[in-house]
Point group: C2
Chain length 427, copies 2
């Protein structure tokens, strides 16, 4: 006995086309195995004329949102629009019209999770979002249904393929940022306007979702500290490599009791850490739970078919669920759980300066750190002079973010000019 | 509103104690978050006197299986006995008595999955087994509910922590097998009788489960080719390293149409492959699906708390399921799917010989390979003579297993004595 499910698409770009093709090519397997057959009744597009490499049956394409949102036959809506609006409004309308929503939209979801979930719960329909974070990697579902017996205290994610591709090339071939970015754009691995990726925003949306789910409490996007990779020089990457570190744009979330820190920034990690070997456009999420201990998920974080893999898996789960689950990111059973946001985290720091090559300089630099109780773990001075200046690299022990910022502010730039400061995670 | 669930344990060793402690320490969190509270009513043990580091309430421990199996109050039975019997009989009885079963037992499960699932279906109760494969890693649940939209064609698993620990030490420190094994036994990482691990059987049970699930068809344990690591020399590991390979005990399953090959054996993989960096007692499963592409799961494959993490997650899922799912490893909707077992797989081979250092030897060796259509990719001859013999290492291109065995059989051992033959996977 096969159950028929009628679905509608909001948007049909890269990923939407991937879902169409996956259901076309693999739909019979799903029907035979799971007893589910998906019919795509309507696909909302901006233009009926655009070439998509797909032959849609007569009448499927539409430019009217209501054809998807108000059709009572459509049971599930898959949203591929991206961005906050109109995606959020339309998802909300779909839910309020009693339709299950499956989305790949990290922005609208990170910003409006609570409202969307409320609507879904009220209507007793499903809300699925595996594809919004890390493409094919089943990290959402694993956090929801496989790691629930854990107090998760740490998440390190490489959740943006574009920046990981750029940093991998810069690391392996000692290439310049701007050159690799241009190449990535040419290859379709970076957008014409790369800001959302290279400035870390994309990663921050995903981290907000991951941390909320892992910590069972709301971790708003606005609370995530964000720093991108646009200022990264190959010089820093090389210095780090010599010290045994690999540079990654990490999305970091830590929980200690009710205190939570969330930050996205370039990070030096030990080169033998499993994340250090995650190269190119791959994504990975590394986490630690009090029972499961260390765990890592690695896979394709983007691309039409990998993302479609997550979407269709959500469709199948939604269709076989006889009761949808709503993760308790706002804990109704235990309202005392109110996470506190910590902005003064502790970590070691890597600082590269151009220092005057004169007696007493190191001591004056060291004093700035000592005055703020920042303890130095290693100092490396590069012999090569450049206009009477030498490169001075300092690695600190664990230090408070704010103390470190004060120490840096106190540096006499005439004596030691700050070139870069990069946070380190020792694991 | 909190739902109370009464459970019973069959056995209470390392993992059972872990589950007890996890529920004791984290049970309130689960109650608050998921609205579920688990009560452990009975724990079957062999001896009431054994010290377990846990203070059980009066009357919980029992030596009578019926106290668990026949108690109508017990809704779920968790099985920790290990081994085929009596675990299988008792799980079957629990299911037939209308109890959901959660098990960590790869042996009983791999051998009797079909019968257990039949009983579970008939009684409409759950049968959960995440902990049977790779401890905390949610590979079972991911195959069941996150990767269903994929035609999975390849699985490479490092699914046995003991052998991975031994091979990692042999690789990193050039230590001898027997010495590392003794150390592993001393550290509790290998059993006093290590046969099931080092001879590859443990991995083969797990592979049978993984492959059945991934390929949606029965892949019996008996069909898995098994070769352990007892014959591995540090000499081979070193030769492989020089050629850019790392040695791992891989559990390999491949599917091509309806043809399936499953094998567990020491394998050379490229040292930059993600699996090559999985070190110590970690487990990992690397797979490829037609939509998700490459994916890897890494984590703790054993240990009390990691395994307990998987068990308690299964308990939660079982308790919140309003309808249990039964993976279609025997495809009822499409009975035409009958997987065929292929024993003549293709792969490159590494062969190390001690060859006579005399004119014409290489040509005679090469002829044995050529006669069987085995094409040579690389030859390395070690200059050092030993009793008039030199080490000769040959790497072949893709070759058929059977052709390779015939080529080896045709070698004149007086001319080139076979020292070792190790399969290679190029990815």
């Amino acid at each position: 006995m096969i159950k028929d499910i009628t679905i509608g698409f909001l948007g049909c770009g890269n990923v939407g086309s991937g879902v169409w093709r996956l259901l076309e090519g693999f739909g019979e397997d799903i029907a035979h195995r799971a007893g589910l057959r998906f019919h795509i009744k309507k696909v909302l597009v901006r233009s009926l004329d655009k070439q998509r490499g797909i032959t849609f049956p007569e009448g499927v394409l539409t430019i009217k949102p209501d054809d998807v949102l108000n059709d009572p036959e459509i049971q599930m809506v898959v949203e591929f629009l991206g961005g906050e609006q109109p995606a959020y409004d339309w998802m909300l309308r779909a839910l309020n019209n009693g339709k299950t929503v499956v989305t790949a939209n990290k922005v609208a979801f990170a910003l409006h999770w609570h409202e969307l979930q409320k609507a879904a719960k009220k209507q007793e329909v499903g809300l699925y979002y595996e594809a919004a974070v890390c493409g094919a990697i089943p990290i959402i579902h694993s956090l929801e249904e496989s790691l629930q017996a854990n107090r998760i205290d740490k998440i390190y994610g490489i959740v943006n393929g574009t920046t990981n591709y750029i940093l991998t090339r810069m690391s392996k071939n000692a290439e310049d940022y701007s050159l690799v970015l241009k190449d990535a754009q040419r290859l379709g691995l970076a957008e014409p306007d790369p800001a959302a990726d290279v400035e870390g925003l994309d990663a921050a949306y995903k981290l907000s979702i991951l941390a909320s789910l892992a910590f069972h409490g709301r971790v708003p996007f606005e609370d995530v500290y964000v720093e991108g990779i646009t200022h990264i020089s190959k010089e820093d990457i090389r210095c780090g490599q010599e010290l045994g570190y690999t540079l990654k744009l990490l999305a970091i979330a830590k929980r200690n009791g009710l205190e939570v820190e969330t930050r996205v920034h370039p990070t030096f990690i030990r080169s033998d850490h499993p994340l250090a070997n995650v190269s190119g456009s791959f994504n990975a999420v590394y986490l630690h739970g009090h029972a499961c201990k260390e765990m890592m998920f690695l896979g394709r974080g983007a691309g039409d078919m990998p993302t479609a893999s997550a979407i269709v898996s959500d469709l199948e789960r939604a269709a076989s669920a006889c009761q949808h689950q709503y993760p308790t990111f706002q804990n109704e059973l235990n309202p005392r759980v109110a996470l506190r946001h910590n902005t003064d985290w502790q970590c070691p720091f890597y600082i590269r300066m151009l220092a005057k090559d004169a007696p007493g300089v190191l001591s004056r630099v060291a004093k700035c750190f000592a005055d703020e109780n920042v303890s130095i773990a290693a100092v490396q001075q590069n012999g090569q002079r450049n206009n009477g200046r030498v490169a001075l690299v300092v690695i600190t022990h664990q230090a408070s973010e704010k103390a470190m910022q004060r120490a840096i502010a106190a540096l006499d730039q005439d004596i030691a000019k700050l070139e870069s400061i990069i946070r380190v995670e020792e694991e």
